[in-house]
């Protein structure tokens, strides 16, 4: 990164505040009964937070495309593991029994 790409302090602080707000939000929302949606809300907030950290704190936003691909690959492969393992668990009891 060349010097003119240095992120202003302000950006870091804004991200920090947003992260803190999201943390408090997720903790509070957890006590509201949304049925099955609690988990989705919690995970959405977690994904949002992690995106902020990755893009800004970890400078991925200004990084080369190659670096973006590396980052994406890590999560993509985790997705493979998760979904294909789930295919088994989701469909295990589909078979008509007797």
């Amino acid at each position: 990164m060349t010097p003119h790409e240095i992120i202003p302090k302000k950006t870091y602080f804004v991200i920090w505040i947003v992260l803190l707000i999201l943390t408090v939000t997720t903790a509070l929302v957890a006590y509201v009964d949304l049925g099955v949606f609690n988990i989705y809300v919690a995970l959405t907030i977690a994904i949002l937070k992690s995106l902020l950290v990755i893009l800004f704190f970890m400078h991925v936003k200004q990084s080369s495309n190659l670096m973006k691909v590396v980052v994406a690959a890590g999560f993509f492969w985790f997705g493979i593991m998760l979904t294909l393992t789930l295919t088994d668990y989701l469909s295990r009891y589909w078979l008509p029994v007797d």
Partner: protein, 546 residues
């Protein structure tokens, strides 16, 4: 890039140039080296030791199976033999074989770099490999492991009374060595290429190792965590895969194979890379369909992650998941098919010589085809039910791993031996050895297909007498195979001292590694080479597009 003319060996003998081998001589200069070529030699030596140890176990297995009753060793001992054979051969021999030895040696030269991107990490991965090896050896010496190389729970976590923890730790550590090697290769291939060496000009060996590294980096951590969970369950007596707490033993299998299926491509892709180089060199032609062969390496690496469930067809996995994994297994076979066809097409109208590396490449193409096609048998759900956990599977994977990868490894060792050692090996002996290995191999493992189809289960210490004839054939083959493997060991060591001195480019091959002297100087090149032509350009004529 013109072929260096053969230099009269006697003329060159007196003027040994400074090179990586004679640069320094102390033990420390070897153990603390960061030179990728010296690290490759360290790997070569340690891997050879483990191969023969694993081979020794195989010999004992085969002798035991000469007779239907268990007479040579007890069943307990037998279980330890095949487990340690599997663990050592897979994790300490075949996974690091071509990448860590040949890859380490030639990648930096092929891309025109002075070294890998992280030389210290490269050395660290050798030490990790050795540490992993020592833990495994400790398990062997202390009394062995008897879980099978697959470590299935709950046997491994609760019931086995052998040295599971120590072996698992060994595999865990060796895994990190593998991760670091892969990481080093990926970064080097991206960032250290010589000017002008674009992706489209990279040797196919580099492409195949790039694919391999992807798997090492993205797959091995899952093995690490799986073994960690197993270790914790065993050590702390908590339940993770324990059905008594509602845990699921099949989950362990998912996680294990998430690594171990891609790992079988760690154990074939590098071999495919070697074969691509060798076929091009000894047919004096560019590889047919360069882009397809290169792309198929990456395709195999990626698709290889989607098929692990084909090891679980009878394990209690959902049958619908089985269906998905079966289809995906056929997807991944297509890029392998592309490679086989392209190698064959490269031979067409070539100028083919029968030097030893080429003999191994022929062997590879034939045996990998048989091994791969029997993989298709196994991926077919209805048929797998019958032959899974029988000798059919044993035969399948020895065809791909021994018939494929070990052949390619030997071919590669012979191909680059002049570069590595600066000496030529004795061609006559080498040809004889290649032939012996090929014949011995087929005699050992072909009967096992039949055994499997007839229903002989694997991991059996004693078996019904009607299977004996085929087992005797297999054991006979293994003895021939043993001779075939001992021969290169002897003549290659012999050649270090007595072999004819090798010129820079004995085969008239292409690729930057042949531009520098044999053996190469410490930093590989006097000055960074600049690449203008395609790697596989054997002819001055323009490439004709069909």
């Amino acid at each position: 890039m013109s072929a260096t003319p053969l230099v009269n060996p006697n003329e060159q003998a007196s003027i040994e140039k400074p090179n990586y081998l004679n640069a320094e001589h102390s033990i420390k200069s070897w153990l603390m080296t960061t030179d990728h070529k010296r690290i490759a030699i360290l790997y070569l030596i340690s891997i050879t030791l483990f191969f023969f140890l694993g081979g020794l176990f195989a010999v004992l297995i085969r002798i035991e199976l000469l007779t239907p009753v268990g007479d040579l060793v007890s069943s307990d001992m037998y279980n330890r033999l095949f487990t340690m054979h599997g663990i050592i051969m897979v994790f300490l021999f075949l996974v690091p074989s071509i990448p860590a030895v040949l890859g380490n040696f030639v990648i930096p030269m092929m891309i025109g770099a002075r070294d890998l991107a992280f030389p210290k990490i490269n050395l660290l991965s050798w030490y990790l490999y050795m540490a992993g090896g020592i833990f495994t050896l400790y398990a062997v010496v202390a009394g062995g492991v008897d879980t099978g190389w697959t470590f299935y729970t709950p046997y491994s976590s609760t019931y086995s009374n052998s040295y599971v923890l120590s072996a698992a730790t060994g595999v865990f550590i060796a895994g990190f060595s593998s991760i670091l090697t892969g990481l080093n290769f990926i970064v080097s291939i991206h960032k250290m290429r010589a000017p002008g060496l674009t992706w489209g000009k990279l040797p196919l060996f580099i492409w195949s190792l790039y694919g391999t590294s992807l798997i090492q980096v993205l797959g091995t951590p899952v093995l690490a965590i799986t073994l960690t969970l197993l270790g914790i369950e065993r050590f702390a007596h908590v339940g993770i895969f324990d059905p008594a707490l509602g845990g699921d033993p099949v989950l362990f299998q998912h996680m294990f194979w998430f690594y171990s299926h891609p790992a079988v491509y760690i154990m074939i892709l590098p071999g495919m890379g070697v074969v691509s180089e060798v076929v091009a060199c000894f047919a004096r032609k560019n590889v047919f369909g360069y882009g397809f062969v290169a792309g198929s390496s990456i395709a195999i690496a990626v698709l290889g992650f989607l098929v692990w469930g084909h090891h679980l067809f009878v394990s209690g996995q959902s049958i619908y998941a089985g269906m998905v994994f079966s289809v995906l297994s056929y997807f991944v076979a297509v890029p392998s098919a592309i490679k086989v066809f392209n190698w064959t097409a490269t031979l067409h109208r070539g100028s083919i010589s029968y030097d030893t590396p080429m003999l191994y490449a022929f062997g590879f193409i034939g045996l990998f085809t048989i091994g791969g096609l029997t993989g298709l048998f196994l991926a077919s759900l209805g048929f797998d039910v019958h032959v899974t956990d029988t000798y059919f599977v044993i035969a399948h994977f020895h065809y791909v791993m021994v018939g494929g990868m070990v052949m390619a490894y030997l071919g590669g060792i012979h191909f680059w031996w002049p570069k590595i050692s600066g000496r030529m090996y004795p061609e006559g002996w080498a040809k004889l050895a290649a032939l012996t290995v090929f014949l011995g191999f087929n005699l050992t493992f072909f009967p096992q297909f039949i055994l499997g189809y007839l229903g002989m289960p694997r991991r059996y210490h004693a078996y019904p007498p009607e299977f004996q004839v085929l087992n005797v054939m297999s054991t006979a083959g293994a003895s021939i195979l043993a001779v075939g493997y001992l021969m290169p060991l002897i003549y290659l060591i012999w050649s270090i001292k007595y072999g004819r001195r090798a010129p820079a480019n004995p085969w008239g091959a292409r690729g930057l590694e042949w531009e520098t002297s044999s053996p190469p100087p410490t930093y590989n090149f006097e000055e960074t080479p600049i690449v203008t032509e395609d790697t596989f350009k054997y002819s001055r004529e323009e490439v004709e597009v069909v």
